[in-house]
Amino acid sequence: MPDGANAVLHVEGLKTVFKVRGGEVHAVNSVSFDLKPGELLGVVGESGSGKSVTMMSLLGLLPSPPAEVREGRVMFDGRDLLKCSPNELREVRGLGVGFIFQDPMTSLNPVFTVGFQIMEPLRRHLGMSKQAARKRAQELLELVNIPDAGQRLGDYPHQFSGGMRQRVMIAIALACDPKVLIADEPTTALDVTIQAQILELIRELRQKLGMAIVWITHDLGVIAGIADRVIVMYGGQIVEQAPVGELFAHPRHPYTRALLQTVPSVRGERAPKLNVIEGQPPMLTQTPSACPFRPRCAQAFDRCARENPARRAVGRGHDVACFWDFDSNGAVTATGSSADA
């Protein structure tokens, strides 16, 4: 559970709602988490589970309307980002928090050179002169292992390959030495061998620069390789949170367990048939009053339909939002469960 102490980013009870024709979509429901200095927090979930929307809500990146951040507190650098003015937010974006987007093909501006785009935050936020910014931009490109960095500053995005463009995006995000880096599926659009290169680069950069990273992905394999701590999201909620080893060794939520069994591996036993999670992810048309995973869950029982489980701690930095206890293979009793507290 988040305690707020010494966290670089502290999120509490975040709620984001989209107004659509004929109703609302509750994309993020009471999400709370902490990001500690220097750690890499993995966020996993399927599309529509609210993982990207959560991170974009933090920095006010969602267009409003239709989006509306209804409740919550986002503490960064001693202030609440949700109460900041647009000008203050602009200072935080880029300077305090770097953002890497999913698709390197569309997130760079095609009519400006790569050098200009890296220099832009440097000149805007740090007030650097053109020469100083240019020098720093070259350093940044070298940092992300782009050969011939000085020459390539004058190139346009279309002259780079997908992997290179993602490196440029990382360079832009790192330009002002942010305390927090948010990476939204940065390797999803890339091939496996290029993905391996980027993951290696991030490992290197973490050792050199030591910033805290939030890494959003749907690939459990990627998470297993780089994260320190993992948040699993489903239906706009955090359903499980644990250190990475603990989560993969002892998953407590039926969704996490099912997800881990669904993914085939390139090594080890090959199952004759894949395990499936039957059914579809939920439509989030209202605030959940029951467990969102209930219709697809093998362990569901009557209490799951009556109330939405709150996250309860189960030790070793692990918490889970579920009424089922896999240790005793029964429902969680009212005593000892923070759900009723």
Binding site: I194, A196, G221, G245, V263, S265, V266, E269, Q280
Partner: protein
């Protein structure tokens, strides 16, 4: 899984398939070169099996799959499906062949006409190739919807009302409508969520068992291909670099590219991820318009030798049923030291295997 006895019948036989796209330039659109999307590919697919075709984006795997059904007019080579060379068929004869070979497309959103109902989409091939009456046609549509797990109530709905997984089921039902023998699945699960992917893959396997279908399963997801395919072909820059049975390919990959590709797949197991030795390839895939001289992989290969930059390796059978196109496996005088380095490389790679099995 399947024992490859010589009695197994070959359904699809591809020999020296080439698919070049012209590059034009200038005022008169003069031809200045070729994009060699598929450059001399040969393989065969046995009846009732699934051949996995893997590779990175831009390696020509989708083009290969499309050329196989002659959705493109191929530049050179022959494609025999059930003994008929479809690369040279006249349009009329080709049209009569179409019912035996079908395709499931990658993007279920784009491959279904938004203005047609589900019944219309599934029934269209029946209109085109059969002379069924209205009632018979509807009965067949219902049968197909049952087969792919779609409720009959949805027959009059439009594609936008369905989720990605359900749309892919509609695409599969359409492909099945004419009782084909051979289906090319072009990244059928790439656009779907993990939990939905497994549903679609299980459906494809079930249908194969029931209807005796033969698949070419094109994918970039190596772990899913390991699950569904009986044999696997690995493509790089328009050529097949390795083709082997699933066990052999994943157990002991031979081609340096296959080794790198497999080592790059992240595994959902933090302990092994921490201890694993990866082969990180440097650089990017060269352009298929201007492939390097010699071996296509020589610009990125960690085991590159002098000969690789000059002579193009040919695919040869190094073990029964196992084809590799690499100079490391050529029986020349240099075979001795390379075999030794290869053996040490293999032990290093395979040290993970026993621990993995314990862990699982």
């Amino acid at each position: 899984m399947l024992d490859h006895t010589p009695t197994q019948k070959t359904l699809v036989e591809v020999d020296g398939l080439k698919m070049y796209f012209p590059i034009t330039a200038g005022l008169f659109r003069g031809k200045v070169g070729d994009v060699k999307a598929v450059d001399g590919v040969s393989f065969s697919i046995f009846e009732g099996e699934t051949l996995g075709l893997v590779g990175e984006s831009g390696c020509g795997k989708s083009t290969c799959g499309r050329a196989l059904l002659r959705l493109y007019d191929v530049t050179a080579g022959s494609i025999r499906i059930g003994g008929v060379d479809i690369a040279k068929l006249s349009p009329d004869a080709l049209r009569r062949m179409r019912p035996t070979m079908q395709m499931v497309f990658q993007d279920p959103q784009a491959s279904l006409n938004p203005r047609m109902t589900v019944a219309g989409i599934i029934g269209e091939p029946l209109d085109e190739h059969t002379s069924l009456g209205r009632a018979e046609k509807l009965a067949r549509i219902y049968e197909l919807m049952d087969a792919v797990g779609l409720s009959r109530d949805f027959a009059n709905r439009y594609p936008h009302a369905f989720s990605g997984g359900q749309r892919q089921r509609i695409g599969i039902a359409r492909a099945l409508a004419l009782n084909p023998k051979f289906i090319v699945c072009d990244e059928p699960i790439a656009a779907l969520d993990v939990s939905i992917q497994a549903q679609v893959v299980n459906l494809l396997e079930e249908l194969q068992d029931r209807l005796g279908l033969t698949y070419l399963f094109i994918s970039h997801d190596l772990s899913m291909v390991r699950h569904i395919a009986d044999r696997v072909a690995v493509m790089y820059l328009g050529q097949i670099v390795e083709l082997a049975s699933r066990e052999a390919l994943y157990g002991s990959p031979k081609h340096p590219y296959t080794q790198a590709l497999l080592s790059a797949v992240p595994e959902p197991n933090p302990e092994h991820e921490a201890n694993r030795r990866r082969i990180i390839l440097t650089g990017d895939v060269p352009s298929p318009a201007n492939p390097p001289q010699g071996c296509n992989f020589c610009t990125r290969c960690p085991k590159v030798m002098d000969i690789c930059r000059k002579v193009e390796p040919v695919s040869r059978e190094i073990e029964p049923g196992r084809f590799v196109a690499c100079h490391l496996y050529e029986t020349t005088t240099t075979a001795e030291p390379t075999a030794a380095t290869e053996a040490s490389g293999k032990t290093r790679l395979s040290t993970n295997n026993p621990t993995t099995q314990q862990g699982v």
